[in-house]
């Protein structure tokens, strides 16, 4: 086996997408690329899951999409955070913080 890459923890992909979209509107490829770059290639995004996440978040009303021209003048679907999405991001970030801390505490003591 080569270098082991951690699986995306269930539900974190949604949170990461919300986080990235809170900075600027992006298309699917952009999000995928940014996650890899920002995690120094530690996190690999399954493209099927990526689009499933985007569609689900749209359905939930946390993000919305619109077709726009890219810098190269290609048509792409850009996703942007809604107000409900911003609130949801707050909730998820807080959950994540608590979860990470709890896990960290156990790892430190054991």
């Amino acid at each position: 086996m080569g270098k082991h890459k951690p699986d995306m923890i269930k539900g974190t992909l949604d949170m990461l997408i919300l986080k990235l979209l809170s900075l600027e509107a992006m298309h699917g490829w952009g999000i995928s690329e940014r996650i890899q770059q920002a995690s120094d290639g530690e996190l690999q995004v399954n493209q099927g899951s990526l689009y499933a996440s985007l569609h689900r978040l749209t359905r939930e009303g946390w993000i919305k999409s619109s077709w726009q021209a890219t810098e190269n003048n290609r048509r792409a679907r850009y996703y942007a955070l809604t107000r409900a999405g911003r609130k949801q991001l707050g909730i998820e970030a807080e959950h994540w913080g608590r979860l990470a801390m709890a896990v960290q505490r156990i790892m430190a003591t054991a």
Partner: protein, 892 residues
């Protein structure tokens, strides 16, 4: 409100999946494109970059599927796929589709049609305000054999004044009047009503005003209320009709309003309403149906106790029959829900017919279930394969259930069409006294019922293959190479049981219709008291007092009409009477017979009164057994004479001849009347009921009910012809009547045969319904037996081949299969016989002249049904015997 957006998203996905797909494809194409661009920027060749970009993206089809799941419409998509799969399957196997759908359609269509009638007639509440508080008020006098009579004026007034349980009570009375001056002279159906009747029912005029107490008190100007139908028909729904006058029975009457269109009194839907004013108020004269509204919270029992209390008060306050007599007659008043009164015996008939078609539906379902079992058998290997490559059990079950539900819905849709046709047919055949029929149709309730039945049927059939493939039968079937020998036996046994149940149900239906046929025969065999009713045309003519002011004028008018009609070629005899046969015009009272003084405290029995012209008994061929008939001289000279029926004569004097010359009177102070003749009994209450004792009066009676020259102006003519179709002389008859007086309408034109048939309509309706149901069930049953045996033979082809190879003759093999069919038939018939004994008891009220356990019917039906089953097994048996041994062994 986020859930709304969420739902809207899913709806979009369901309704416009193409757009969603297009967007997703474009989005993913862009993704790959952009990835490739990145790789090109890193210095890779264009073609290589595209290849690598696609690899990086991963499996495109799978990714699309994963993304699609996020649309939240997985169930819908599966359903769609399953439905598509089912329809494709049905197209590939049209015979299966046609048979199952048609069979279900028969069952669902039949039940839906009957349910439509049942719902409208029996289940739906009456169209009145708070109908549960409405009751019909009746009297009963079991002491003298009178089950039920309408109300009398004295009791009505007492109940109104003293009741603690009734809010109010209204009376009405069926009547017939002649309207002239609008178009042709017309005889109209009139309800004479008290002022309280409409408020009790909670209906008010749609135009104008209701009756007041003055309108129904002596000195009334007799104003008229129109029915909506009559208003539209004769006045073109002119709103200015209120205040106008209309000529009724020769007098101008003012129209004060219009009543709503759906108003019905009992089963009567009148053209006009007329004030009901009592000329005489006493405890007797039971003529007026009463409707009362219970006070809130009052039960029927409390109201009955209240009525008993008030009967005593009535005898104290009014003249007439003393209390002791009423006690002796076990006289009492009682109420029962108005709806029971309106629906009456119709509900028994309809529930029986509904139960019958329910059985047909069951037979149909059994057939369909059997077909599904066969199909499940056939597809066993296919299913096992799908299961092996990873289809979950739940997914497979869902596929089966979708399939059967689709068939159920298709069957239901076809059934609804059938029900629509069936309803038309029912409207044609329904007995005339079946109430509330006019609104029958496919309303939402009935459609819901049909859809519910379809879905239920679909779900039930769907579970059959699911059960079939449950508990690990699948792997086994793969191992066995599809023969499923072990579990197959068990399922075959189930199918045999189905067929037996089917035969049993068919038997019950056949026995039911057999009993109805016997009843019908028994009814037709009763000599009704008149001969060859097919030759007799009847119609009513009423002579109003404006056209013939005196009694003699009225009688003479009728006499001249009779003479004119008698001269028409083809007419052999003619006469007329207040009521002909069982046409429903009734009048009753009691008389006192000379030499039979009523013991103190007891008054005579109620007799039916009828008024006849000379020639009436001859026209009906109702023989005069002793003495003579009525003659015109009796009428014009006011002779105190009358005729009675044979049963009346026998009651007092033992034989008809003895009765001639005897006397009776209508009250203790009245004059005596002489019995001048005795005629044969007539079954005027319908041939299934005992013939009532009748007194026949002349058209003009010197003194009756406190009136001098009591004159019967409205009579039904009976014209006996030598024509095949008596109605063919109707134009000449009309001319004859109008040659005497052009203002006289002919009403209720019916042949005597039709009057007789109407009195048996309930029997013939039930008979036809049961007959159709039994025929359909028999057909389905035969198909069922045939199907199972064919399958059995196909399954055992190899066995047959071996038997034949080992020396069995084709006849042996044939006999073996037929015996199997005969066995199923016999067991089914045995079960059916037991069930029939129990179930036919429910229809005992409809039977006449035959018991529910009628050996002849049971034996005939059982024998013929076994015969039919054996016949149905003969075709598969022959196929089994014709198997070539070599071929059979090569099979598989």
């Amino acid at each position: 409100m986020r859930w709304i957006a969420n739902l809207a998203y899913r709806l979009r996905a369901v309704l416009a999946p193409e757009k969603m797909e297009r967007d997703m494809d474009e989005e993913m194409a862009f993704h790959i494109e952009r990835e490739a661009q990145k790789l090109v920027e890193q210095g890779i060749t264009e073609a290589e970059a595209h290849r690598q970009a696609r690899r990086n993206f991963g499996p495109a089809v799978r990714n699309r599927e994963i993304a699609r799941e996020a649309w939240g419409i997985g169930a819908v998509q599966d359903l769609r796929a399953d439905a598509r799969h089912t329809l494709r399957g049905l197209r590939r196997n049209p015979a299966f589709a046609a048979v199952t759908i048609f069979t279900l359609a028969l069952g669902i269509g039949g039940t839906t049609a009957i349910f439509g009638v049942l719902n409208e007639v029996v289940l739906k509440p009456l169209p009145f305000h708070e109908p549960h508080r409405l009751v019909a008020v009746h009297h009963t006098m079991p002491g003298i054999g009178v089950d039920e009579t309408p109300l009398s004026p004295a009791l009505y007034l007492t109940f109104r004044e003293h009741s603690r349980t009734l809010e109010d009570i209204g009376l009405w009375h069926r009547y017939s009047m002649t309207v002239t001056g609008l178009a042709q002279p017309e005889q109209v159906v009139v309800a004479r009503v008290t002022a309280g009747l409409f408020p009790v029912l909670g209906v008010s005029p749609i135009l104008g005003r209701n009756y007041t107490e003055e309108d129904v008190s002596p000195g009334s100007t007799y104003p008229i209320l129109l029915s909506q139908g009559y208003w539209i028909r004769r006045f073109g729904a002119d709103p200015s009709v209120v205040g106008r006058t209309i000529r009724i029975d020769g007098s101008e009457r003012t129209i004060i309003g219009v009543m709503p269109g759906d108003l019905r009194l009992g089963t009567l839907s009148p053209d006009l309403y007329f004030p009901l004013v009592f000329a005489w108020v006493g405890v007797g004269n039971w003529s007026f149906p009463g409707v009362a509204r219970l006070r809130p919270g009052v039960t029927v029992e409390q109201a009955n106790a209240d009525l008993d209390r008030m009967t005593v008060i009535a005898t104290e306050d009014f003249d007439g029959i003393p209390l002791s007599t009423l006690r002796e007659r076990e006289f009492s008043s009682f109420v029962r829900p108005l709806k029971d009164d309106v629906v009456g015996g119709a509900s028994t008939v309809l529930w029986i017919v509904f139960g019958t078609v329910g059985l047909v539906l069951l037979v149909a379902c059994t057939n369909v279930a059997n077909l599904f079992l066969v199909r499940a058998e056939v597809r066993q290997r296919d299913v096992a394969l799908r299961s092996a490559i990873g289809a979950s059990k739940w997914r497979l079950a869902r596929q089966f259930i979708t399939e059967s539900v689709v068939i159920g819905i298709l069957g239901g849709a076809a059934g609804i069409l059938l029900a629509y046709g069936g309803n038309r047919l029912l409207l044609h055949m329904a007995p005339p006294n079946l109430p509330r029929l006019e609104q029958i149709g496919l309303n939402p309730t009935v459609l819901m019922f049909a859809v519910g039945m379809s879905l239920l049927a679909g779900l039930v059939f769907g579970t059959i293959p699911v059960l079939r493939y449950g508990n690990g039968a699948l792997a086994e079937s793969l191992k066995e190479g599809g023969r499923g020998a072990v579990s197959g036996r068990r399922w075959l046994r189930l199918r045999t049981l189905f067929v037996m149940a089917q035969v049993a149900m068919v038997l019950v239906l056949l026995v039911g219709s057999g009993l109805m046929i016997r009843t019908y025969q028994a009814l037709r065999d009763v000599a009704p008291g008149f001969e060859r009713p097919g030759e007799v045309l009847t119609f009513r003519v009423s002579v109003p007092s404006t056209d013939a002011p005196t009694s003699d004028d009225a009688a003479r008018t009728h006499q001249r009409i009779l003479e004119q009609v008698n001269q028409i070629p083809g007419v052999t005899s003619v006469g007329a009477a207040g009521s002909v046969a069982m046409d429903g015009w009734e009048s009753w009272d009691d008389v006192e017979i000379d030499g039979f003084p009523p013991p103190p405290g007891e008054t005579p029995v109620l007799r039916r009164f009828n008024w006849v012209t000379p020639g009436y008994f001859a026209a009906l061929e109702n023989p005069v057994l002793a003495g003579r008939s009525i003659e015109w001289v009796d009428v014009f000279e006011r002779r105190p004479v009358a005729l009675v029926t044979e049963n009346f004569a026998r009651e007092f004097w033992g034989n008809p001849a003895e009765a001639v010359g005897r006397r009776f009177r209508t009250g203790p102070e009245g004059g005596w009347y002489e019995i001048v003749g005795v005629v044969q009994d007539v079954y005027t209450a319908g041939v299934a009921e005992p013939a009532p004792t009748v007194i026949y009066w002349p058209l003009v009676v010197a003194e009756l009910w406190g009136m001098n020259d009591y004159t019967t102006r409205d009579i039904r003519y009976a014209v006996r012809t030598s024509q095949q179709d008596p109605a063919s002389i109707l134009p000449q008859v009309r001319e004859a009547v109008w040659s005497v007086n052009p203002n006289l309408p002919l009403a209720e034109i019916l042949t005597l045969d039709e009057i007789l048939a109407n009195s048996m309509a309930r029997t013939s309706f039930t008979l036809v319904m049961l007959g159709i149901a039994a025929a359909v069930a028999l057909l389905l049953g035969v198909v069922g037996v045939y199907g199972v045996l064919s399958y059995l033979v196909a399954q055992r082809t190899r066995e047959m081949g071996v038997r034949l190879a080992l020396g069995a003759t084709p006849a042996d093999v044939r006999r073996m299969v037929v015996r199997q069919g005969g066995f199923m038939g016999t067991v089914g018939v045995a079960i059916g016989l037991v069930a029939a004994v129990g179930l036919t008891r429910l229809m005992s009220a409809l039977l006449f002249g035959v018991g529910t356990v009628d050996l002849w019917t049971y034996a005939t039906v059982a024998a013929s049904l076994i015969g039919v089953v054996i016949l149905a097994s003969y075709v598969p048996a022959r196929r089994a015997a014709s198997v070539a041994p070599t071929e059979a062994l090569r099979w598989e």
